[in-house]
Point group: none
Chain length 198, copies 4
DNA sequence: CATGAATGAGGATTCATTCAT
DNA sequence: TATGAATGAATCCTCATTCAT
């Protein structure tokens, strides 16, 4: 059964942006790949940027909700953190190309006119960082997370580590870039982890 | 006294890309801003991408050399690490807009044809990560850095933290995003810092 | 009633190339003259050269077919030859400017890359020379054409004479450059034609 | 010993235009090939077209003078004609690429502005056709050339045949495209040359 | 005479967007 | 809703020409 036309368009876009840059991917190609007329795209999206954005944040709210769910009975804080990383990792994996475009298409100093994409994303992103902050807050409550650094900042660094893992560590063996490893490093740092002589 | 023409062009480019995207910034504008003829740009750069790249990596090799210098007498490992972060931070601060473009203009899965910029950068970047790895190796030697994670991976995460600090934490008060904080978090992690035996 | 858009574009091109050289005629002008958008040209032609070529060979195949038609009952060989010259002459008259461009845009020794136009034309041209050769073969059969020179060569010289008539003899009075005169010269040569009474 | 700089430039141009079109050959290349500075070209030629023209007509006047020389003792008319064809053939052989450019760069209907090259050539060319006409006149005097067609027209056709031989017959075996063959065809035509039954 | 760094006018081509059907 | 033919604004790059040295 054929998907909804809007869905087909977003999927085609996601697929094409995987191998082509923003300005190298034409609406003709997307329309062709989605098997719809070129004009049809404009029935569902206001313009090319809007298409990118909607394709990127598709499912984003659902993910944020998932992050906010209460942890299952008996799951320790580290377990929660690991599950959080998995959720985030899964969401961003397929969307990496789209977010690469969004992040590149503007910077904080950009004039508002051109920063449309980035502006919209920054607004949404807050939902995610807040959710992660809330999770870290639980760790603070159980004294498993240090309290001398704001949760929001810790959340950003955690997200940054996940980005590094996804963007820069692709060439390393899977064992070296496990999510458990990220959590461990995030929690214990790179310093001599356990006082040997203890 | 007027700078060298090539320098003027690179500076003008850096300035303009700060507030405009790659495709919104025309060579006309750059030439105008640099106060040179349009054709002059092509005397020094093979094309627009080459201009971006050269402007971005200007001084990169010098920075890598600086990273490799032996630490001053009596400077502890943490001191070295802090100094390393400062060096990196200074280098990337002004070049952020340029690197945003380079990173966005291609991805590892991209066809080689379009990944020219990124390819060139990946080649150079290695010099930097190796230098940081080498520094971390000294920490391993003094048992200040854990040995169970490859230095290369730790280096990537450290660089990732600096990126997060520079890109995502701009709205936080300076005190919260100090380089010392980055080093502390990198070394000790987000877990309860206080020694258990307390 | 307005012509087909593709036709309008080709006619506008033919008209403009009549008074301007290849590189002096811009696609802007052609689009303007044809009263279509600039982009429309690229819906029908792959590029500027393709436009020239298609405009030039428009109707070429039809002419070749016409050349191959059996001569009417009772038409002598010279009559056939004259009719052939007329057909050729009519076809090339309006297209002279276009062919001037095609012939100039490459030469046999040119690298294949740049000889696109000329290559395409050489391929087509063969159809025409073969048709003329076939006609001359009939003359050989009736002993009206000498057999000691290959038909293909004679065909080339005949076509060359038509070109001379069209390109170099324009300043001479029409009577001196009649097609009948071409045929006569081609058949009898410039030597003392035939000692009439002798 | 190094040639005169002007000579070197013209030779380099001739060489380069052999494999490149007018607009594909840059003055940079020519200067490089001639081993002179780019500005030096403008010391000897007013512009690019002038360079082409002067390179093409270099030696043209000398050739015209040669054509006008009295035929050697005892050389028959056909001998003179053959020698004439040889002279013309030699002159144009190396210059073909240059003349292809000149002939393509304008037409009789062209606005004077753009027809500069062609205009200049048409003026010079007259010297050559007049010389050939004069030679044909000798044939008329000896009744070897028909008198019912103006010499000027016959001269044009003869030159046209030489062009055909040089441009269109290159793929034929040398024996079939001999200058003697051209003269024979010019004199006797393509009709049954000698009434066999005579 | 000779040079070559510097210039900037000029044009083919692409592609997001519209709108008549 | 859906389409895709038509549009034309927008820009990179080339290269003939100049002129300070």
């Amino acid at each position: 059964m054929k998907l909804d036309k809007k869905q087909r368009i977003m999927q085609a876009a996601e697929q094409l942006f995987r191998t082509r840059r923003f300005h190298e991917t034409t609406l003709d190609e997307i329309a062709k790949a989605a098997d719809v007329g070129k004009g049809t795209i404009y029935l569902y999206f206001s313009d090319k940027e809007d298409l990118i954005f909607q394709a990127a944040v598709e499912g984003f709210d659902a993910m944020c909700l998932e992050l906010r769910q209460a942890p299952p009975e008996g799951e320790g804080f580290r377990g929660t953190l690991l599950r959080t990383c998995e959720t985030l990792s899964v969401f961003f994996r397929a969307r990496r190309p789209l977010f690469r475009i969004i992040l590149s298409e503007g910077d904080r100093d950009m004039e508002s006119a051109s920063g449309g994409l980035q502006q919209r994303w920054r607004g949404r992103r807050r939902t995610m960082t807040d959710a992660v902050s809330a999770i870290l807050a639980r760790g603070v409550a159980t004294t498993e997370i240090r309290a001398d650094v704001p949760n929001g900042i810790l959340a950003e660094y955690l997200l940054g580590m996940l980005r590094t893992r996804s963007w820069e560590l692709e060439d390393w063996p899977a064992a070296q870039r496990s999510l458990a490893g990220v959590v461990d490093l995030f929690m214990n740092g790179a310093g001599r982890s356990a006082p040997a002589g203890k």
